[in-house]
């Protein structure tokens, strides 16, 4: 599904990603752990193609197509979707309008909004006065309407209370077809800081990102437990071992 080869990325003249290699297969969910500032969000933003994330070297391939320099909307149309950690407020643009943009024009967004108890937000300006949890729900609702093949989630659990974590978890499971065990087609890359989301969504692989590089591909739960127990310090040591 997604293949990243020796990716080097600069943000505002500063080298942030330094030779990333990552492969996410069809139907796989990967988790990306790492300290603040390690480059996790930069990786997601670069996969989506946002300006300000300058690819200096390397290649991103999606469904066999080199997308390294494609515009954002082309990537979205090919099947990449992203949930933002802090999306901008769009004054005068109603959530229902945005869901129409995401969807196929058959009212999918509205149906989903009703299903997740979010119909009261349809007439509201996108993200205006939304709480942390509401922003996450709104983002996931847009993604569910968009129905991407590869979903990029940037800390989907941050700012969400316990009660809503269940709903957020449900929505992510649906996005990633966690109810299908054979022939699953949807893939995901989830950034998580706290690891909480692993209680709600299973992942196939985990990676640790440090200083713009990815280390430790392995079982996500084991990696996360290791980080909890020994901290990222241990990862650095481990990484030094392998080098």
């Amino acid at each position: 599904m997604l293949h990243i080869e020796d990716l080097w990325v600069e943000v505002q003249g500063k080298e942030v990603l330094k030779g990333i290699n990552l492969h996410i297969g069809k139907g796989e969910t990967h988790c990306l752990f790492g300290r603040n500032g390690s480059g996790k969000t930069t990786l997601l933003m670069t996969i989506m193609g946002f300006s300000g994330y300058k690819v200096k070297h390397g290649k991103i391939t999606f469904k066999g197509v080199d997308i390294t320099h494609l515009p954002i909307n082309e990537r979205a149309k090919m099947g990449i979707g992203i949930s933002f950690q802090r999306p901008p407020t769009l004054r005068g643009v109603k959530l229902k309008d945005l869901l129409k943009i995401c969807g196929d024009g058959h009212g999918t967004g509205r149906k989903l909004a009703v299903a997740y108890g979010f119909e009261n937000f349809l007439e509201r300006d996108v993200n205006l006065g939304f709480s942390g949890g509401e922003i996450k729900k709104s983002e996931l609702l847009q993604l569910l309407t968009q129905n991407p093949d590869l979903t990029l989630l940037d800390e989907p659990e941050s700012g969400v209370d316990m009660e809503n974590l269940n709903v957020i978890g449900d929505m992510i499971r649906k996005l990633l077809q966690k109810d299908i065990h054979r022939g699953r087609e949807k893939s995901g890359l989830i950034i998580t800081h706290t690891g909480f989301i692993l209680n709600y969504v299973t992942a196939d692989k985990g990676h640790v990102m440090l200083n713009g590089q990815i280390y430790c591909e392995g079982n996500p739960v084991e990696i996360f437990q290791g980080i909890q127990k020994y901290g990222y310090q241990e990862c650095i040591k481990c990484m030094q071992c392998t080098v």
């Binding site: 989506m48 300006s51 954002i72 769009l90 005068g92 643009v93 309008d97 945005l98 943009i101």
Partner: protein, 387 residues
């Protein structure tokens, strides 16, 4: 070089010296379409009454509700001696060369009176239309909403689709009596070389409500307007909404002023402006002169072209401590982050910009006809071109 006011006046032929049509039937299809885009329903559907003046002649003036009186203002002046009490009272005749000109040579205008207690659901439409080249149209309008009445007026001002140049001077004096409500929606749809000089005064008595919606999205040479409302009775309210797009070459000097001159009066001025290369001066002035006055001013401007200029001038003036006045002004280009957010949902860059601008200009306006709403949408989309 910019012309001074007197030179400007001398350039044009008085509307009274130009032949005009006698009925709407004489207008061609293109003209009718333009009037529709300006908010006018030539068949009067959904309207309680209609006043249409082309150049200096009134081609339509009828109203089917007995509680509402609609007349050409020259007829009203002959009919009612008391109208003198409302004539040049809110706008001084000597204010500037344009008011002086209209004071000397009047080409008519409308007089609307909602009698006490009369509440009208559907709007009344008025239209001031310049049909011939180089014509100066000079009108003077009076609206009186008597006690506890309720009235919605839609005014469409336009010029012939192929007009090379023109000048419109419109004096308007609106009186909102005790407990009355007047919603006044004005749509400007001029031509590229047209000068527009409205001069408007409003007076609102106790518990009265005045709401103004102003829309100008099309090419025009120069508009200068600064309606001033005085809230002279307890609890009176005024609200001004403006939605303005300045295409290349347009010089728009717009604003509103509200004087809160009685206890517990409230006012709100909201303007959303977009420059596509034209210059916009967005003014707003709130004057708090009585206890418990509460007012807010909001100027938001968006520049979509390198050549565009938006100059927001919000003013707050408090004359005592017990007033609550605030303002908010922001001018700039669209945030890249917002464009890319929408692109990540599948929109192209142009579509994303259009969506954001449409949202930006989406100030809630009560009672707009569907043609006008469609026209606003279309104009907003049009204003993306040449970016």
């Amino acid at each position: 070089m910019a012309l001074n006011e007197k030179e400007l006046l001398e350039q044009f032929i008085p509307a009274s010296e130009v032949e005009s049509v006698k009925s709407l039937d004489e207008l061609d299809e293109e003209e009718i379409r333009k009037l529709k885009e300006t908010g006018i329903q030539p068949d009067e559907s959904g309207r309680t009454g209609s006043f249409i003046q082309t150049n200096c002649s009134v081609v339509q003036c009828d109203c089917n509700i007995p509680g509402i009186e609609l007349l050409p203002v020259t007829d009203a002046l002959k009919k009612y001696d008391w109208l003198e009490e409302y004539w040049w009272k809110l706008v001084p005749k000597e204010k500037d060369p344009f008011t002086e000109e209209t004071g000397r040579h009047l080409d008519n205008g409308y007089f609307i009176r909602a009698k006490a207690g009369e509440k009208v659901v559907y709007p009344l439409q008025t239209c001031l239309y310049i049909r011939n080249d180089k014509v100066a149209q000079r009108v003077h309008n009076v609206i009186i909403a008597e006690e506890d009445s309720e009235l919605h007026v839609i005014t469409g001002c336009a010029t012939h689709p192929h007009l090379t140049s023109g000048l419109h001077i419109g004096i308007s004096e609106f009186y909102v009596k005790k407990g009355a409500k007047l919603i006044f929606t004005m749509v400007h749809n001029w031509g590229e070389n047209v000068y527009v000089r409205p001069r408007t005064g409003i007076e609102v008595e106790e518990g009265g409500v005045f709401m103004s919606n102003y829309i100008s999205l099309k090419g025009v040479k120069s508009i200068q307007t600064y309606p001033t409302a005085t809230l002279k009775g307890k609890g009176a309210l005024a609200r001004f909404n403006s939605v303005v797009v300045a295409p290349e070459g347009a010089q728009l000097d717009l604003g509103s002023k509200v004087i809160l001159d009685a206890p517990n009066t409230r006012a709100e001025i909201i303007s959303r402006t977009v420059s596509n290369g034209g210059t916009i001066i967005a003014r707003g002035h709130l004057v708090g002169k009585a206890r418990g006055a509460k007012a807010h001013l909001e100027c938001q401007g968006m520049i979509l072209s390198e050549r565009g200029v938006i100059h927001a001038i919000p003013e707050l003036e408090a004359h005592l401590d017990d007033v609550d006045m605030s303002h908010e002004a922001a001018v700039g280009k669209i945030a890249q982050e917002e464009i890319e957010y929408l692109m990540a949902r599948g929109l192209s860059e142009d579509e994303a910009v259009a969506t954001i601008v449409r949202g930006f200009l989406d100030v809630k306006i009560e009672g707009l006809p569907p043609e006008l709403e469609a026209e606003i949408q279309r104009a907003v989309e049009e204003c993306q071109h040449g970016m």
